[in-house]
Structure formats: C-alpha cells, structure tokens
C-alpha cells in the first residue's frame, strides 16, 4: 500500500459567527475571527490517497485526475471567495477549519466514484492548514 499526498492552495475569506449564540457570546467565543467584515487566509489543502501500486504505470493514482477532481469539486468554488457568502454549505454552517474539512470530504466523496470508479485508490486523509500554526486533519 502506498500513500500519495498532493497539496493545493486557495485564498479565501471567512467570518466565524454562530447563530446559536448572542453577538457578545460570539465575540467571546471566536475573538478576532468574529470581526463583522471577515478576514482571509491562504489555505493549504492536502489530499492523501491510498492504494496498491499499479505495476504497469508505477502509480497509485493519476495525479492529474486527482487535480481535476479537486479543482472541480473544491478549488473552483473556494478560490478567492468569501466562504460564508459564496459557498452554499456555509449558509448556516460556521466555516471553521473543522467544518471546512467536513465540507471538503463530502464534496470529494460525492464525485470520487465518477473520477475513480474502481475499489482503489481511496481517499485516506484530508489535512487543512488555515495558517502555518493551525492545522486540522481528518482520517477518512
């Protein structure tokens, strides 16, 4: 089994504000991430796939097919966007890095079968760097 990881970059803005709490509670909970007009990050997204080595191609996955899937499922909607306003999933969902990772998983899994119809490669891990110091990982 081989794990291959590809890193992608997108710049986006967001504001952390939850409808479950009052304005004061939101300010207390999210601090400067609650500032009303939002703020941005250069996100780094790592998509890790697992699979057996194809002895013919010497590959686990065709990286260009993965690029196309990530481009169409994620980057085209996230790059240079306001996540709260431009990405429908975040209408009612706070775009914390945790929730962004869940949305990314859902989008990738929805389109995975069409791009990779066989049993392999499978999606193994999603890792999102909001900044160099804030990193979220989800093992699938």
């Amino acid at each position: 089994m081989i794990h291959l990881t590809r890193r992608y970059h997108f710049a986006a803005s967001h504001r952390l504000h939850s409808g479950h709490f009052s304005d004061a509670e939101n300010r207390d909970l999210y601090g400067k991430c609650n500032h009303p007009f939002g703020h941005g990050h250069d996100y780094v997204l790592e998509v890790c796939v697992a699979g057996p080595l194809n002895p013919g191609t010497g590959q686990v996955i065709n990286p260009r097919k993965l690029d196309k899937l990530v481009q169409e499922s994620i980057l085209k909607d996230f790059e240079h966007r306001n996540l709260n306003l431009d990405v429908p999933e975040f209408g009612d969902l706070v775009p914390t890095s945790e929730n962004i990772v869940f949305v990314i998983r859902e989008r990738l899994e929805r389109n995975w079968g069409a791009a990779f119809p066989g049993a392999w490669p499978r999606l193994e891990r999603i890792r999102l760097e909001e900044t160099q110091r804030n990193v979220i990982e989800l093992n699938i």
Binding site: M1, I2, H3, L4, T5, R6, R7, T57, G58, V60
Partner: protein, 142 residues
Amino acid sequence: MLITRKAEFSASHVCAQPSLGPEQNSQIYGPAANPNGHGHNYVLEVTLSGDPDPATGMLFDLKKLKDVINAAVVEPMDHRFLNYEVSPFDTVVPTAENLAVEIWSRLVPYFANDARARLHNVRVYETSDLYVDYSGEDGGAA
C-alpha cells in the same frame, strides 16, 4: 517513538513505459513523459521507530543514520539521471511511488539486525506539493 531524518538529492527522470507510444505516455504522465527528461529537488524523510536506549538516550545514532542515507540513497542518486544511471529505473518507471519503494528496499537491510530501531516509513517529496509515503508491504503509513 519515531525519529525522522531528512535528506535531499537532485535528479532527473522520464516517466514513460517503453511498451507504449508517446501519445499514451503523455496521457498517463503528462509533461513528465517528455523523452529528454526533467529534474526535481527530491526531499527524503526516513523515519525509524523503537525505544531509546536508556543509557545513551538514543533510538539510533543520528550521525550513523545520515551516513546510511547517504550511502544507500544520496550518493547513488544525487545529480543522476535516474532512468539511465540508477537501477532498477532502466526498466521500472521512476515515479515518486516507485522511487519510495526502491528507497525502502535499499534502506531495510541496514536495520534488519538492529536491536532497537526499525525502518518505519519512507517519505519522498517530488515537489513541495506532492509526496509519497511507503512503509513496506505490510505497513500502513501513519
């Protein structure tokens, strides 16, 4: 406990299968199939696992690990054209995946008789945005 040592080497390669024509190879490998080759600054991370020796406080002598990586990988691969100069890439396509498997198999013998350290994982960065993990046939990379 895991301990990781990093090394770098620069090499050129072509990703193409001799049994296929240029168009098919280009479909599979994209620009990496360019027959004249191209290069990367590869970054290698070698991870060992085990318990440190209570007396020395070390899992493995890091200087020795550097020497092992140099002898097994850097020396034979640095500033080489992998397809032409490094076995088995005259017949095996030097993708990052195959490179990780080959590096694993070159390193394993150095730790076969070590009382403490086991080779745990080999990570090969082909670029800063693409890397492969291999932990042997039975392994599952962390």
